[in-house]
Symmetry: C2
Subunit: 336 residues, 2 copies
């Protein structure tokens, strides 16, 4: 195989991305320049944040430009190298983009230890989702042993790790997920104390039943009605961690805000957003904690690996918005 296929942004989506959003281009496999290496991408990370990167608005990173290769985290093997830190054959992770081969100068790239965990895990529990869960709970959420911690999107890449970190930290953990299978996974395999199926009824009533005294930390991945119900269930001095709001990412109408926000006032509570990249200087701390838990078997890292190669990128991304994944969603790109 001597060609390199890439997923490029063809058109900014209005609402849900579709076939017209993406184009597949084919180019020669790029040669590394001085100090660079070429990576053969094996797995692509699919992240809800990607939807935000498609919008032409000011945010924490610039939008992906029309015609550009889609921004994506990935893991792969060094295919050719002019960089001693990334020798040929090394397993690496980085912001390589949605493509089969990428050139990197080593910025935002790391050699990974596939003896500790296989490649896909380095896009999940040992990648940015794991870091996001860790800093969101410990730093933004100021989680303490004994806290009641509520997590939405709990069967997703970030939520599933966040819930386990909370459990391992001595918290009572309530997860919200869609469907009985996900809920069973949370309680039976991940050690959540309770799981609420948001497809089964009113969240507010279910929450009141399982946490009549309210929650100390709410880790929000979904926004919308679930955020509003969680706000109504805050305890005094509660912390709401804004990690994402996937329920509204494809909306074309303006989305309503959380009408129960004054619960923050009467409960002396706070709601704060964060971006994991701001914690770069503390990544070693999170990595040490997460890899120790994995090594000891205390943390379940689950990935849902989709196949179909680079052409399946758009379809796989949309699975996130359908709640069609359990654990970290990745796309296998290399088909060897």
């Amino acid at each position: 195989m001597s060609a390199n296929r890439q997923v490029r942004l063809a058109r900014r989506p209005v609402g849900r991305p579709d076939e017209s959003t993406w184009s597949i281009t084919t180019e020669p496999i790029p040669e590394p320049g001085d100090g660079e290496f070429t990576v053969r991408v094996e797995y692509l990370s699919l992240d809800p944040a990607m939807r935000g990167w498609l919008n032409d608005v000011r945010s924490y990173v610039p939008p992906v430009g029309i015609g550009e290769v889609m921004r994506a985290h990935a893991v792969g093997r060094v295919h050719a190298s002019n960089n001693d830190r990334f020798p040929v054959g090394a397993a690496v992770s980085g912001l390589f983009g949605a493509c089969e081969y990428a050139v990197s100068d080593g910025t935002d790239a790391t050699v990974i230890d596939t003896d500790l965990a296989p490649g896909p895990t380095w896009l999940g529990a040992l990648g940015f989702p794991g870091m996001t869960a860790y800093f969101g709970l410990t730093d933004v959420g100021r989680m303490k042993p004994g806290d009641t911690v509520l997590i939405s999107g709990a069967a997703g890449a970030v939520g599933s790790i966040a819930g386990q970190i909370a459990t391992l930290s001595g918290c009572r953990v309530i997860g919200i997920a869609g469907g009985p299978e996900k809920c069973a996974w949370l309680t039976d395999e991940l050690g959540f104390d309770v799981a609420i199926d948001h497809r089964a009824g009113t969240i507010g009533r279910a929450l009141h039943a399982v946490a009549p005294h309210g929650v100390d930390v709410y880790f929000d991945n979904v926004g919308g009605d679930i955020l509003n119900s969680a706000l109504a269930a805050l305890r005094t001095h509660a912390r709401v961690v804004l990690c994402g709001a996937i329920s509204g990412y494809n909306a074309t109408d303006p989305q309503p805000g959380p009408s129960r926000y004054l619960s923050l006032l009467v409960n002396r509570a706070s709601m704060a957003g964060f971006i994991v990249f701001d914690y770069a200087d503390r990544f070693p701390e999170a990595h040490a904690a997460l890899s120790n838990w994995i090594r000891r078997g205390d943390l379940v890292a689950r990935e849902q690996v989709e196949t179909g190669g680079i052409e399946a990128f758009g379809r796989t991304l949309n699975m996130l918005f359908d709640g069609a994944n359990t654990g970290k969603l990745v796309l296998r790109v290399a088909e060897d």
Copy 2:
């Protein structure tokens, strides 16, 4: 005069309080028991928070009961006393209720120094509004010199003190108020850098013009559209201080939430509520700062003193919801 008139809650208001909300009762002037004193109330404090106390919902204090004397902060003179800390003739402030005479055992009551400032100021800059401004900015808002601080309800009791504290602390201060007179007062007499008249046009546009790089602290007294515009104008790591939301207090329909709340996420910002009573152990610190500024002439304490006695209570309270006050709104009760 040997009678004591009182304002009692006759009926919980739906929407804006009106004549049917209140009843005036007349009783003998109460005699103090052991360790108690009777205060003759001179000035009542009118506070937006009173509206919340009328609703039969769980909050940071229990609702005022039907038939109970309306909860109110007040200042007055000790009329009769069996308590050495509160001798006859002493000026006192406390949670005496909306009445002409009240009995107190000294809980929530303090002797005040009317040489430092007249009675009404002890319901404003030297009372809970001043404390609220102080802790909201310094503690909840973590205001730093050089910050751009935005304040809504800026010509009100809390906002007018908050803006001056921010100015005195080396911040650039933008106030939002209703009408040109209030705005002129903010900039000409209180030292605000800029005032925006929310009746004159779109807040978002005006904010962008005066703070193109956004605001570091937003101190919110009003909620609604102004909160939403402020959220859209946050800088990285900004802090939103939820002090009140007067724009919606009389609403009978569910009020929309702040649809721009995800600005907290992309800007790694936070929004937190607080209740000034939680800072009771630090009141001396705030009092020292506020009284020093007043003594030096650095802080303008303005009260709008309405007359008409206890019967004017309901009408005077509603002035808050019409924006009809500049500075702290108080009602003179004693007519001597």
